[in-house]
Symmetry: D2
Subunit: 151 residues, 4 copies
């Protein structure tokens, strides 16, 4: 799961993870099942949080992130064996939510196989309601992205 | 996976499947993992195809459906034990694609836990390109939905 | 996930759960993937614990069960659509462990599709070591099984 | 999924694959779910077949392998993040079946996390019955293992 800075398609993504496709990721249609890019998006989000989020915010106790929505465009059929690189970057920080963009690059096809985005809400798991994006979270993301966000 | 016509939240969905939540559907956050509604959407799409699609179109050989995009809004955290009802309905038929809407209802919470939609493309798996929605597919869907679609 | 007491193949199992096979449970060989019976065993173990274990022992905090070993015999290829009934029964209670037997019955094939067993150790998650099977756990199991166990 | 010949615990395994643990491989107990080693065993079996089996035998059409039984001993709780190395070796070739042994090594714990074995039957998918292990399969395995097997 090392960074792969040499992929031009993912050059704007501060966090990139690399995963092998498993034979068992395929379904009865003979290609990778549609749930797998969603699982890979999750892995990239977690890696992003590990790097850009304060440690206190990476759990589901107290104040933490919760997934509100996801979108995925399936652009190419994937097969075993292959290796995919998944980029994650924050494209928007709002009052209590943010958008993380994902892009999946197939080594075997040398092409983008899927892309999409996740909407993350900063959630108070005790009060069970959204809260404002904390300043230290915004700062951590802006440092990782190398830019500032309007909100 | 019987029809449950008595759920008012799903009354406009011609296909409804019913699935138990498994303990193993939950992740380290202690609630159902975000990939599970995507899996349930898939199960509802397959059930829809079983009822509304010509038998010749349910495979990935020759002319068949391919998933182009998916969206999911996660509205409530789900937990084991629970039973979910997943509705599927076609909301749009285009030239070579259609949109299937999904809604997931939690029995334990008596509320909609997630909703979303899938874009399905009618695909020629041999030529590897989209083709026009065949008339018999449109007719099968219109019969199941009890209405006609502009395209 | 109701009890199905009318299946003669599972008549000796005090806990039986019923699950639909999902299309997505199948892999690129076109039949149900070998990880799925393991997931169904887990679901049956959890249902067994819900009925026979003291509430205080159903977590991974303090004293709780941990899976030490599993075996599965795959006797028939399973396909979607189908419904499986999974039985669980305790066959042995030892000093700090017990064996749970599993049997999977396919409705479509009217036959046993897989069987196997799990070895569960009673584990002190804080001290990170096995402990003796508590008397209230043994009593709960003996009540559910309707018999006593030597140890 | 490169070979890692420098792991002494896996030095007797001719096929070794390397996989990252994903956050989503964990369950509500907060450690890697018991189905994951089974999935990793599968991935190691497939890699073994890719290297030692004749190309004509790697499918479920005609003569091919089918999984008859699996065993897994769970020796340590695994957590994200970690990387596991999974070894596969044939320990027995019978008349129509063989045994593949598996061992999973955790990088983070520098220890064996699980081991087990799979029984594979050579199956005629058209006649739906086991057949004798073909000579070219035995030869491919003996070449990969660097030894001969009695049967």
């Amino acid at each position: 799961m090392d960074k792969q800075p040499s992929l031009p398609e993912l050059s704007d993504y501060p966090v990139i993870i690399t995963l092998p496709i498993l034979w068992g990721d395929q379904d009865a249609f003979g290609h990778v099942n549609n749930t797998m890019p969603i699982r890979w998006f999750e892995s990239a989000r977690i890696a992003y949080m590990d790097q850009g989020f304060p440690a206190s915010m990476r759990t589901s106790e107290g104040i933490g992130p919760i997934l509100a929505a996801i979108r995925c465009n399936y652009r190419r059929q994937l097969h075993y064996p292959d290796t995919v690189h998944i980029g994650a970057r924050v494209s928007r920080i709002g009052r209590s939510s943010m958008t993380i963009e994902h892009k999946i690059f197939s080594e075997a096809q040398r092409a983008v196989a899927a892309d999409g985005d996740s909407v993350i809400v900063v959630f108070d798991y005790i009060a069970q309601r959204p809260v404002r994006v904390p300043p230290e979270l915004r700062q951590g993301i802006e440092k990782l992205e190398g830019k500032t966000f309007n909100s």
